[in-house]
């Protein structure tokens, strides 16, 4: 890639942001060509935590691939679990009992809240504010405790099964969720006062890293990044799956396209997810949590299948090619941040270093998900 200094006769220098750098949250490396504090070119270099999940998908039976789903995006693992089990259910034509669907949506949305809370803290940490991170972690800890009490794990969940769930939830969990929502409702104004309203934060976010809707489309960006650019697209609404059509929630859309818009989208999504969880608790039906007839051997018909869900960071999709055996012939995982990061190189041209890092934070990167 050719790189030219912004002003003539100026020298540029290269600087390696990462693979170990406090702002990249993992092992992302960005090769920066800088002209002073300005970025001339920023080329992300991936693959430092590449684990070849797709090849694993071809070597394991459908059921054995389940634990992998918790380890792609470890922050919203349940969305990935959901995407995968729904794909297999689609292939096999398994009907899932209603109670299981409600519990799935409830836990997935709790997971989404926890993912957004972590992003919120880490993002403010990128901007130099340390304290909100720990407040967010305090709240997130409650979610992890709740999810641990049903799923048994705190981060890399493996809770959903083909046709249902691993185990049922009890009333303690539901009341725990209600209490947590009450707590988070009372904390959100504090976050907004402490962080959203802060003049320094606004200065750092408003107008930084503007992305047009057209650019998002060209780069395949999805999730809060796309919604921050004014596109009302959410797989949960546009391509409804599970019981989302029965639930009443809004898709927050901000049209500014800057980092502040992405920030606000995620903060509003926390509120919307809380609404979804509340409705799930209120509507939770009684009944079975596992489909009565789940074939022991999963051998889908020949062909390829596509399924997309809304993970915390955007559209997560799986394309599975089956050759009629008990293993996938090909398993393609479409990770949202992979596409979201691919626009970084173009969008960060001419930015200040500090702004570029704020912009990177606003994309909400989870490196293991990009590298898969």
């Amino acid at each position: 890639m050719g790189s030219q200094a912004l002003s003539q006769n100026n020298e540029t220098f290269e600087i390696n942001l990462g693979p170990q750098h406090p702002a990249t949250h993992g092992v992302l490396r960005v090769k920066l060509t800088m002209d002073g504090e300005y970025i001339v070119d920023a080329e992300p270099v991936l693959g430092y935590i590449h684990r070849m999940h797709e090849l694993m998908g071809e070597n394991r039976t459908w059921a054995k691939y389940l634990p992998n789903m918790g380890r792609i995006d470890y922050l919203s693992a349940l969305s990935y679990n959901l995407g995968y089990v729904q794909l297999v259910e689609k292939m096999m034509g398994i009907e899932v009992p209603e109670r299981a669907e409600y519990i799935r949506v409830l836990t997935t949305e709790m997971n989404r809240i926890s993912s957004h809370l972590l992003w919120f803290g880490a993002f403010v940490l990128d901007l130099g504010g340390f304290t909100p991170l720990l407040y967010a972690f305090d709240d997130r800890e409650h979610i992890l405790d709740l999810l641990e009490s049903v799923t048994g794990s705190r981060l890399t969940y493996c809770y959903y099964r083909f046709g249902g769930l691993y185990n049922d939830v009890d009333d303690d969990f539901l009341t725990g969720c209600t209490q947590f929502l009450k707590r988070l409702r009372s904390r959100m104004p504090m976050y907004h006062k402490l962080v959203t309203g802060n003049v320094i934060l606004r200065q750092r976010l408003v107008g930084v890293g503007p992305l047009s809707a057209e650019m998002c489309r060209k780069y395949g960006a999805t999730g809060p990044v796309l919604r921050g650019s004014g596109v009302n697209y959410d797989v949960r609404k546009n391509e409804p799956y599970s019981i989302y059509p029965e639930l009443d929630f809004d898709v927050p859309v901000y049209s500014d396209g800057d980092s502040m818009a992405r920030y606000m989208v995620r903060m509003d999504e926390i509120e919307q997810s809380m609404r979804i969880v509340e409705q799930c608790i209120a509507k939770m039906p009684q009944g079975e949590i596992k489909a009565p007839k789940v074939p022991k051997l999963i051998k889908p018909a020949i062909g390829d299948y596509y399924h997309a869900v809304e993970a915390a960071r955007g559209t997560f999709a799986i394309r599975a090619v089956s050759d009629g055996k008990n293993q996938a012939y090909r398993m393609k995982l479409r990770a949202p941040t992979f596409c979201n990061l691919s626009l970084y190189q173009e969008a960060s041209k001419g930015m200040l270093l500090a702004d570029a890092l704020a912009f990177m934070g606003s994309l909400d990167l989870v490196i293991p998900e990009i590298d898969r």
Binding site: A23, G36, L127, G128, L134, Y135, L352, A354
Partner: protein, 348 residues
């Protein structure tokens, strides 16, 4: 034996002990305070409430190896941490802590060497701090450190101007550069202090805030810690430093905070004078304890600010300095000059 010499030696030891002890224990205050702000416990294992932690940290830093990376400018690399610490100690020489205030030596002034140009000397030495950043960043042969050094210099220059202008305002009001004279001019209750408009300085509160912001920026404290912005520049100018090289930078930072707080107290908060000398005779009308109380309150504010705000960017930092602070400081200077010098001259 020359009593003056004994006085000097005692004070020298005292100053170094005060600077180093403050640096060490302010780290503890900062860690503990930050922990409580974030609903954590903070250091608690070494000694009661982690009080011995700073000593353990110090021992660890001293016992570590000093790493000299390849290709560095070694003399400058070694000089930079000294530039961070030595001026800080030098400044303490001229800072008056105030009279003892009680007991047999009630009138004894705790000051190493009172000078009639004390304020000028402090400002002169305080600006050496920028050199430490520049040399440390430049000699490390690290691109992050160089960026940090450049940021540090432009920041230092930008904020020194409003700082000095505000200090000049105070000098004009008090008519002296001697710190004890400035304090004594504010004696007699908090309404006489320079940050109150009653003193004839109509813009007192503004100049106090301007001075405080400049002091934050000059000491490279959050939210103006662009030099060591850890999420952007790893650790900035001291990325390559280890052992006591890093330790000196660290201590220098905290010593500078104490100096900044002392200076703010002396210039604006009445130094060692009691806020209400006649009504509440706690600690006496003037005592160094008042002084310490005030500077530690200020330092706590600094700590609180660090753990509350995100970091500003270089551009908004310079905008703040050139577009807000300098105009305000200049208007303040002019206004005070008109009030104090020109109006009396005209007989008003």
């Amino acid at each position: 034996m020359d009593l003056n010499l004994v006085h000097m030696v005692l004070f020298l030891v005292g100053i170094i002990a005060f600077a180093a002890g403050n640096a060490a224990y302010l780290v503890w205050v900062e860690r503990k305070g930050a922990a409580r702000i974030q609903r954590r416990t903070g250091p608690c294992e070494v000694g009661p409430a982690g009080l011995i932690q700073p000593l353990a940290d110090g021992a660890k830093l001293m016992s570590k190896q000093i790493v000299f990376p390849d290709g560095i400018d070694k003399p400058l690399f070694m000089l930079a941490p000294m530039f961070a610490m030595i001026p800080a100690v030098m400044i303490f020489v001229t800072i008056p802590f105030g009279p003892v205030g009680f007991g047999p030596f009630a009138d004894f002034m705790i000051v190493a060497r009172e000078m009639n140009i004390g304020l000028l000397m402090i400002l002169a030495f305080a600006s050496v701090n920028v050199m430490a950043l520049l040399l440390g960043g430049w000699s490390s042969k690290n691109k992050y450190a160089v960026i940090s050094a450049i940021r540090g210099v432009s920041q230092g220059i930008a904020f020194e101007i409003p700082l000095v202008i505000t200090a000049i305002t105070i000098v004009m009001i008090s008519g002296s550069m001697q710190l004890s004279t400035i304090v004594e001019a504010q004696a007699g209750g908090f309404w006489n202090w320079n940050w109150m408009p009653l003193q004839g300085n109509l813009f007192g509160p503004v100049s106090f805030i301007v001075f405080f912001i400049c002091f934050l920026a000059e000491t490279n404290r959050a939210p103006f810690d662009l030099g060591e912005a850890e999420s952007e520049l790893i650790a900035g100018f001291h990325t390559e430093y280890s052992s006591m090289g890093f330790g000196l930078f660290f201590m220098g930072e905290y010593a500078n905070i104490v100096i900044g707080a002392s200076l703010t107290t002396i210039l604006f908060l009445g130094g060692w004078t009691s806020p209400f000398p006649e009504f509440v005779p706690v600690l006496g009308a003037s005592s160094f304890l008042w002084f310490l109380l005030k500077i530690y309150l200020l330092i706590w504010t600094v700590v609180l600010i660090r753990w509350t705000y995100p970091r500003v960017t270089l551009w908004s930092l310079l905008n703040l300095a050139w577009k807000i602070l300098i105009p305000f400081a200049l208007i303040n200077l002019l206004g005070s000059a008109v009030l104090i010098k020109i109006l009396p001259m005209l007989g008003l």
